[in-house]
């Protein structure tokens, strides 16, 4: 039962990304073709409001529901990991038209073929950790 609240946030987030068409392969293609403002508006407005939220976390104006401070983990340092990892991710994002969130949402939409993409993503995760000691970070 203590996980129910996370399930509800997931349902909400899933509906938002569905209704905003973020889960559409076409919207991702259109974004990378620089032919629509839609995706930039979605991400941009989320980030602008996210900045305000992060500021309020830092200033301790917003706390968890139990009153604890919210500390956001810093990102892992390193140019190579972020740049190369990012490029590899971007290649897959534009090919499959789905990042990890939408992959799960499309399962719920009843798209059989996305199960193969999701399996591939799990396999890719496994492969990264199998070879990571040989990669620059």
């Amino acid at each position: 039962m203590k996980y129910l609240k996370f399930l509800f946030v997931g349902v909400f987030f899933g509906i938002v990304l569905s209704k905003a068409e973020v889960i559409s392969w076409y919207r991702i293609y259109e974004m990378f073709k620089l032919q629509s403002f839609h995706m930039y508006g979605v991400i941009g407005s989320a980030v602008v409001i996210g900045m305000v939220i992060m500021y309020l976390f830092k200033k301790e104006k917003l706390k968890t529901y139990t009153g604890e401070l919210i500390l956001v983990d810093p990102k892992k340092k390193g140019f190579a990991r972020n740049m190369f990892g990012g490029i590899i991710f971007g290649l897959g994002w534009a090919l499959g038209g789905a990042c990890p969130g939408p992959m799960f949402i499309l399962v719920g939409k009843g798209v059989t073929a996305i199960l193969v993409v999701l399996f591939g993503a799990t396999l890719g995760t496994f492969l990264y950790h199998a070879v990571k000691h040989k990669l620059p970070h």
Binding site: F6, V9, L17, F89, L95, G97, F126
Partner: protein, 185 residues
């Protein structure tokens, strides 16, 4: 009620995404989808082959509940909230897609050329689907986050690492869309 059934504009979706992020932190956790892929590996027994996956996946049940919610959300939106499945694309986009062999672009959420059963059961189609997944999984864990962890949380924190990662997302995405996709189809 009608506005819920219409496609949601960016200025509605963006703030609601920020709200989703806020709620995960408010409930004492984090906002990031791709780490669940590591949890799935661990559940599948990948710890037998790669030590990294020998963690206790039960500690990530909260995030599995979140992705299970994503699946339910996708079902609800599709079943009851999306009477019109078409995507109002830029006519130029539809034209560009027709040039590389995509018919009726925007008539549904996803192109048949990639996601239909015919595509799934063809060698090329299967390789495209699994290849896209492998790239996303490998890249997101290499970078330490995907569109949610780096794109939303990281950019909101103004973390330099996330600006580099998102620049990478776009470099990769532009290369795929402009230079590779035209030759794949």
């Amino acid at each position: 009620m009608d506005f819920i059934l219409q496609p949601w504009p960016w200025y509605v979706a963006g703030p609601l995404i920020a709200l989703s992020m806020f709620l995960m932190f408010y409930f004492g956790k984090k906002f990031g989808v791709s780490s669940n892929l590591e949890t799935l590996c661990s559940i599948a027994g990948a710890g037998k082959l790669v030590d990294f996956f020998k963690f206790d996946w039960r500690k990530n049940k909260w995030n599995l509940a979140f992705v299970f919610g994503l699946i339910i959300g996708g079902f609800i939106a599709n079943q009851w909230l999306t009477p019109d499945q078409s995507i109002a694309l830029n006519p130029k986009t539809v034209e560009n897609l027709a040039e590389i062999g995509f018919e009726n672009a925007g008539a549904t959420y996803l192109p048949d050329e990639i996601f239909s059963m015919d595509a799934l059961f063809s060698v090329k189609g299967f390789l495209i689907l699994i290849g896209a997944g492998v790239l996303v999984g490998f890249g997101s864990r290499y970078a330490g986050g995907c569109t949610s962890g780096h794109g939303i949380v990281g950019l909101s924190m103004m973390a330099t690492e996330s600006y580099i990662a998102v620049a990478g997302f776009f470099i990769g995405g532009l290369i795929m869309t402009w230079l590779i996709l035209p030759y794949l189809f």
